[in-house]
Amino acid sequence: MLTRRRFVQGMGGGVLLSASGLPLLGNTRAPSELVGPTFDLTVDTMPVNFTGAARNAVVINGQLPGPTLRMRQGDEVAIRVTNRLREQTSIHWHGIILPADMDGVPGLSFNGIAPGTTFTYRYKVNQYGTYWYHSHSGFQEQVGHYGPIVIERRGGERHGADREHVLLLSDWTDHDPERIYATLKRQSDYYNFNQRTVGDFVADVRKQGWNAAWADRRMWGGMRMNPTDLADVGGYAYTYLMNGVTPAGNWTGTFTPGERVRLRIINGSSMSFFDLRIPGLKLTVVAADGQDIEPVTVDELRIGTAEVYDVIVTPGDAAYTLFAQSMDRSGFARGTLAPRAGMAAEVPALDKPVLLGMGDMGMSHGDHGPAPAAAATAGAVDHSKMDHSKMDHGPAPAPPTHAPAESGPIVDMRASTVKTALNDPGVGLRDNGRRVLTYADLATLGGPIDVRDSAREIELHLTGHMERYIWSFNGQKFSDATALAFKHGERLRITLVNDTMMTHPIHLHGMWSEVVDAKSSFVVRKHTVVVNPAQRLSYLVTADALGRWAYHCHLLYHMEAGMFREVAVS
C-alpha cells in the first residue's frame, strides 16, 4: 500500500509519461519557453504520473505547466490556441490589461474555444513583469491547464539579475476535481485531517484548566466552526508541485555562485496558499503581481492563490532548498537551487499547524462569554491577541455593517470586529521567528496609475457557509446577484470585509486593484488581493476598461460555489 508520506512527496518523481510510457521530462528541466510575439498553443489531455498512479491531465503543448510565454513590453501579441479536448476550453491571461473580448472568460468575454477549433487572442502588451495564464473553463485549471508569462521591460529590468528562474507552484490531484467539489458539498471537512480531538481537549484542560478549555469548546461549538479550517482541500488529495515536479522529484534551478538570481514565483494552484522560504538565503522581493516595488528583504513570504512575487537571491557555493509549505501544513512543494544539477540541501520539517484565533473570527474578546486563554491544541499557539497598537496606522475601523442578505441562511458568520492591519502576516506566520513579508512591506514604484481620489465606494463582504459549502459576496451567490456596475472612467474604492474564517485571494479582471492603507495612502498595485479573516481592506480601481469582467475569489471551488460577480464597465 502506498504510504501517505510517499503519496504527499510524490512517487513518480514528477516524470510525465507520454502515451507510449516513455518519460518526457526530467526534473532539472527548465519549463520550456516560447518567445513571442506569435505563439501557438495546443490544449490537450495527456497521461501523467505524479503519485504512482496514472491520471489524465489537461496540458498545453504537451507540458504541465504549460510553456513560459516570453513577451516584450510593447509587443502586439497573437496567441493561437487550439483545443484538442472533447470539451470547451479557454485561456485567461491573469493580470494582463487587455480588451475585454481577449480576457478569456467564457460567457463574459467570449464564447470559449469549442473542441477542435482555434481561437486567436490578439492584444498589445503595455506592461511588463511576471504573470500567468490558466483555463477559465470548469475545473481544467486544477488538472494542469496553467503556465507562466514573462514580459520583459522595455529598456531593461529595473532590478537587474544575472539569471532567472520561474517557480510555478501548483496543487496536483489524482482525484477528479468534479468529485472533490461534490465531496465538499457532501462533507465539507472531508479533507481536513487536522481536526481537534478528545485528546486535544484533555491536553487543553491540563494546560489551561477546565474553565478555559470548556469555554473555548463552547464558543467554537456555539458557532459551529472549526479552528483548524485553514484549507478546504489539503495534502490528502494534493501533491504540491514546483514547475510540475513533485517534492521527491526535486526540481532544480542552477546558478553560478555569486550571481544575483531572480525567481519569478507564481502561485498557479487551485486552492492552496504557500508559505515560501529558502533556508540560508534572504529573499529580496522586487515585484508583486508583476509590478516593480521598492525592494524589501525578508526570510519568508506567503503567496496566495494566483498571486505573483519576484524575488532576487544571491546564493553562495551551496545547494538551497526552495521550500513552499501549504498554509494548512499538510504538505509542501519543494525544489533546489544549486550550482549543479543533482545536489540537494536539507528539507525543513513542516511547521506545526496553528489554530485560527479570536482575531481571525472577527470577534472582540468577550463576545461569547468568557474569553478562553489562547487556544492551542493541535499545534503551536497562534497569537490571536495581536497588539493592535502595532497594527497599521490610523484608527481601528468601525464595526462593520452587514448587507441584509448576510443574515440569510447561506452565511454562517459575520465579523463584528475587523482590522485593516496590512502588516499582519496572516494565520500561521505570526511571531514565527522569521521576517515574513506583509502587504505593509509592499510599495509599488511610481505610485498609483491614477492620482484621483475615489468618488464612491463599493463595500463587499466575503461571506460563506463552510458546513454547507456555499460561498458568496454580501451573502449572495453569483446566481442570486446582479452585475456590479462601474462607470467608465471613474475612480472608485472597493472595500472588502472578510466575514469568513478563511483567507481569500480576490481577483478583479481587467483593472488594477490599488491597495491603500488605513489612512487611504497608496500601498501596492495588485491583480489578486489576499484578504485575511476579519480583515477590512480597501483598494482603488480606475474603471478604464470597457466591457464585462469577472470578479471572484481565486480559490477554484469557492468561485464555483458562488463567490463570483460580474463587473460591467459602461
Binding site: E87, Q88, I97, L98, P99, A100, D101, M102, P106, G107, L108, S109, F110, N111, N126, Q127, S137, G138, F139, Q140, K185, R186, Q187, Y190, F193, N194, Q195, R196, T197, V198, G199, R218, G221, G222, R224, P409, I410, D412, L445, G446, G447, P448, I449, D450, V451, E467, R468, K477, F478, S479, W512, D544, L546, G547, R548, M559, E560, A561, G562, F564
Partner: protein, 262 residues
Amino acid sequence: MKRLAALLLLAWASLAQGQGQGQLEHVPPDPPQSHVDHDMSYREMTEMMGMDDRRRFGKVMFNRLEWHDGDDGSQYAWDAHAWYGGDYHKAWLEAEGERVEDSTHESRIEGGWERIISPWWNVRAGLRHDAGMGPARDWLGAGFTGLAPGFIESEALIYLGEDGRTAARFKFERDFLFTQRLVLQPEIELDAFGKDDPEKLIGSGLSSLKFGLRLRYEVRREFAPYVGLNWAGHFGETSDLRRAAGESGDEFTWLLGVRAWF
C-alpha cells in the same frame, strides 16, 4: 552654483517622473471589438463557463448497517438517508428498521422535501410509512433538521396519521474524534405518540428511547466499520403493552456494523 542648480533640477525631474510613473506605464485597454450576447440566460452563461453555483448534488448515507446477537437470535438494523438537490432545496429519503431472524420487526420509510431556513436549520415535510409488527401506519410529517450548537446533528419531527393519531420523533447525534479516523458517535432517538395503538404495542406518551454509542474507524471517510452498544428502553403504556405481549423489556446489546456513504 551652476552644478547645484543642475542637481536640483535633476532631482526635481526625477521626482516628478516618479510621481507619474504609474500613470505612464499604464495604458487603458481598447474597448472590446466583439461582445458576448448580453441576452444570454444565466443557464446559457454558466453552461459556457462550466461553472454553476446552482448545481445539484446527492448523497446516500448508510449511517448504521449493523448486526447484533439478540435474545431472539441474530438481529439486523439499518438507518440510511439520502438527499438530492441544490443549496436551498433538497429531496430526501430515510429508511430505518430492524429485522429479527426472518421478519421485519420495525420499519420506517420516510421521504419528502427540505428547505434551508437559517444558517443551521432546515424545514422538512414529507410522508412516513411504518411497517413491521402489526398493521402498517402512514403519516404526514413536518419538522426541523439541522446542526445544533455543539455540532449536534438534530432532527425533530411531528406527524399526523389516520384516525387522529399523532406522533413525534427526535434524534440527535454527534461525532467525537479520538484520532482523525477513530470517531465515537453517541446517538439518542426518542419516539412519542398521541394515543394508544395496541396493535403495534404502542402506548401514548413517550414510548421509547434508544441510546447508541458507536466507535468507528474511518478507513476512508466514506467507509467505516464500527463496534457499538445500544440501549433501548420503553416507557409507560408502551412498556406495559410489550410486557403483556411477551416482548422484551429494556434491551442492552453489543453490535457490529459499518457506516458508508457516497
